[in-house]
């Protein structure tokens, strides 16, 4: 069984984005990570990813990443057909190493932020963002 957001748009309750199952991280996401880190280990901590637990609108989900001292932060939507979202590069004169943007999520999935820190090591943070039909809270 597979529903895409587009399939459900025409259905009565489907105007809000939805999918059936949480999307799994795909091979493209793993490749992108390997390319960014060169296969290096990633520490937990050192990068902060702020994202809503449940998206109000899967088409435009606000996220924020920050990693003090980082040279670059890569953001991936691991369940999207094209998982690459953005890579933020911070020059030596950047006052803060943080960025916010809005991303599109095809369904419930993990969003991942990987930072390349000043010492050349890598740090990773992830957050599950749920995309739901909603409509029954009370």
């Amino acid at each position: 069984m597979e529903f895409t957001r587009r399939d459900t748009l025409g259905l009565a309750l489907g105007a809000a984005a939805l999918t059936v199952l949480p999307f799994r991280a795909n091979a493209a996401a793993e490749d992108a990570i390997a390319e960014f880190t060169g296969g290096a280990d990633m520490a937990e901590g050192g990068v902060t990813l702020t994202a809503p637990e449940i998206a109000e609108n899967g088409n435009t989900v606000p996220i924020e990443v920050s990693a003090p001292g980082a040279a670059a932060i890569m953001v991936l939507a691991t369940g999207n057909p094209e998982p690459g979202v953005a890579t933020f590069n911070f020059g030596p004169l950047a006052a803060v190493q943080s960025a916010s943007t809005r991303i599109r999520l095809a369904g419930t999935q993990d969003v991942v932020a990987i930072a390349k820190l000043a010492d050349g090591s890598f740090a990773k943070a992830s957050a599950t963002v749920k995309v739901t039909i909603g409509g029954c809270g009370g």
Binding site: M1, F3, T8, L11, A12, L13, G14, A15, A16, L18, V20, L21, P22, T50, P52, E53, I54, A55, E56, N57, P62, S100, T108, T128, K130, T132, I133, G134, G135, C136, G137, G138
Partner: protein, 554 residues
């Protein structure tokens, strides 16, 4: 007094009142040795119930993950045992579901904002500067509230003089109306998580917190609106606003008020109980969370670390009094009482009665019209079904000629006893909303499963931050099995079309009628008209026991 002694007696006339008054007194209900230097009064989720009502608490309220088996996820005898409540006692009637119809005869109605006013006034007599805090879901839920776009509730609550409020269903009045009311509110409208959707910055109209100088201490009250408003309710009605839990921002606000000299930090929350528990474990520096949204009524605070969480019920049935001893920037102690508002025991405040009646007067004839009568106890609360929604689903199937009906898993709506008349007001109390269109559409079996799985995950996701706080969508004409321990996509099975007994075919199309769609442009007659028409045809309604949902993994 044994409840059974009075079961055979008439519940009409003065019998109920006399019985309730013999068992209880206003003095007993209000008895409280004033403690410390600050008093908080919490009321929440009134859902526009100005007048006394009956309200049956849930029989089924399942917890998952870390919350399995903990309050508020215990009910009935287990709940009474946990708190040492005697069977058949007034407290058993107020807090648990068993023998509801019989106990209702004995102890009568609950709530009524004129009774609430008496309680608030009595607490203020003990402590004149007590803070009255309204947890929201106030301007929604009745015939008069709908027809006045919330003005009846605004007028009555203003007379109660709250100090602050937070929000949920209020936003379903539409953002223009909400803005109009909030601009004129004589008290603080709070929500640290109410953001401007376009800029993702705090919304100007709603402040995150307010300081109050009370008892020689500085009290910070931080608001937390319902986090999932644009998901659980129609976001197109308030597109300028964004919400979310935003516990990073909550931590920032707690730190900010502490740095500004707050001696005690109180969160006025519409998160729902399990979300509040999780937040209390993640955000440090909160002394008290006044919890709303999930309609739980708990006779004792729940302590998470140093944070006391207070749950004060719904529909005007309870008021919590919380006295705090705050000295030298620290909370040294807390004393709490959940006060059930027994309407036949607590004297109404005459000025408030007059004000309430004034709001209702223009609609008196419409409100009072008897549409039918019920042979069955009509109630809503429960994770999977309630008799009110069974009746509403019957109405949808019959009036809209559908195979399957869906009714939203909301938790508001008072109860009616067997033998009671059903008035138009009663129907509106369980259906009124600003998006009440009853749609009729075709759905494949596969899509119906998608809906059930999606809603089930909003209740049974083991992480409370991924829950929305309602109950399962109620269904008519459809049976299913649900394993609440499974992940999304694997909870629902054995879906059956009840009228034929056949399994639901994923590829086949079924006619589905429902109401309260969050989609803009939903078409159909209003649900209250559908239900009224159905009840009128029945005359007397009987709701048979509903065994069509097979729950496993409890």
């Amino acid at each position: 007094m044994a409840a059974s002694a009075l079961v055979g007696a008439s519940g009409f006339g003065n019998w109920a009142r006399l019985a309730a008054q013999q068992a209880l007194s206003q003095d007993q209900l209000l008895e409280f040795d004033t403690f410390g230097n600050i008093s908080l009064i919490h009321i929440t989720d009134i859902h526009a119930q100005l007048k006394p009502i009956y309200f049956r608490e849930p029989e089924v309220n399942l917890g998952v993950g870390a919350n399995k088996g903990f309050v508020p996820h215990i009910t009935g005898a287990d709940f009474r045992k946990a708190y040492g409540i005697a069977d058949g006692s007034p407290t058993a009637y107020a807090l648990t579901h068993d023998d509801f119809s019989a106990l209702a005869q004995t102890y009568g109605r609950v709530g009524g904002l004129d009774r609430v006013a008496t309680v608030v006034n009595a607490i203020r007599a003990d402590r004149p500067d007590a803070l009255l805090l309204d947890g929201g879901d106030t301007w929604h839920g009745s015939y008069t509230c709908h027809h006045t776009a919330g003005q009846d509730m605004v007028n009555v609550m203003n007379a109660l003089k709250p100090d602050a409020m937070t929000f949920h269903w209020e936003f379903t009045l539409g953002s223009d109306r909400v803005n109009e009311i909030v601009e004129g509110l004589p008290f603080a409208a709070l929500g640290q998580n109410i953001f401007d959707a376009e800029w993702d910055e705090p919304a100007e109209m709603f402040k995150p917190y307010k300081f109050f100088d009370r008892g020689g201490a500085k009290v910070a009250v931080i608001g937390q609106a319902f986090p999932y408003m644009p998901i659980a309710n129609p976001g197109w009605m308030f597109p300028e606003y964004s919400f979310g839990i935003r516990d990073e921002n909550m931590q920032a606000m707690v730190d900010e008020v502490r740095a500004a000299g707050a001696d005690v930090v109180v969160i006025l929350s519409h998160n729902g109980f399990d979300v509040d528990k999780k937040m209390a474990g993640k955000v440090s520096g909160i002394d008290v969370i006044l919890s709303g949204h999930t309609h739980d009524a708990l006779p004792e605070p729940v302590l998470i670390g140093q944070t006391h969480i207070i749950a004060s019920g719904s529909n005007g049935k309870f008021v919590s009094r919380v006295d705090l001893d705050v000295r030298g920037g620290q909370m040294m102690g807390l004393k709490h009482k959940l006060i059930p508002i027994f309407s036949d025991v607590i004297a109404p405040d005459p000025a408030m009665t007059a004000l309430i009646d004034e709001q209702r007067a223009p609609y008196a004839t419409e409100l009072a019209e008897v549409i039918g009568r019920t042979d069955s106890l009509l109630y809503r609360r429960g994770n999977f079904n309630g008799t009110w929604d069974d009746l509403i689903c019957d109405a949808l199937i019959s009036e809209r000629e559908a195979d399957i009906a869906m009714s939203p898993g909301v938790r508001w709506g008072p109860s009616l006893r067997p033998g009671d008349d059903i008035t138009r007001e009663d129907i509106w109390n369980v259906t009124s909303m600003s998006y009440g269109q009853a749609y009729r559409t075709e759905m494949t079996g596969e899509f119906i499963k998608v809906i059930l799985e999606d809603v089930a995950d909003n209740i049974f996701n083991p992480d409370p931050y991924y829950q929305q706080g309602g109950d399962m969508v109620r269904v008519g004409g459809l049976g299913y099995r649900i394993d609440i321990t499974q992940p999304q996509g694997a909870r629902i099975s054995e879906m059956t079309l009840l009228k034929t007994g056949e399994a639901i075919d994923p590829a086949k199309t079924y006619v589905v009628a429902g109401w309260a769609s969050v989609n803009e442009g939903t078409e159909g007659p209003m649900i209250w008209d559908v239900v009224e028409s159905h009840i009128r045809k029945q005359g007397t309604v009987t709701v048979n026991p509903n065994n069509s949902v097979n729950v496993v993994g409890v």
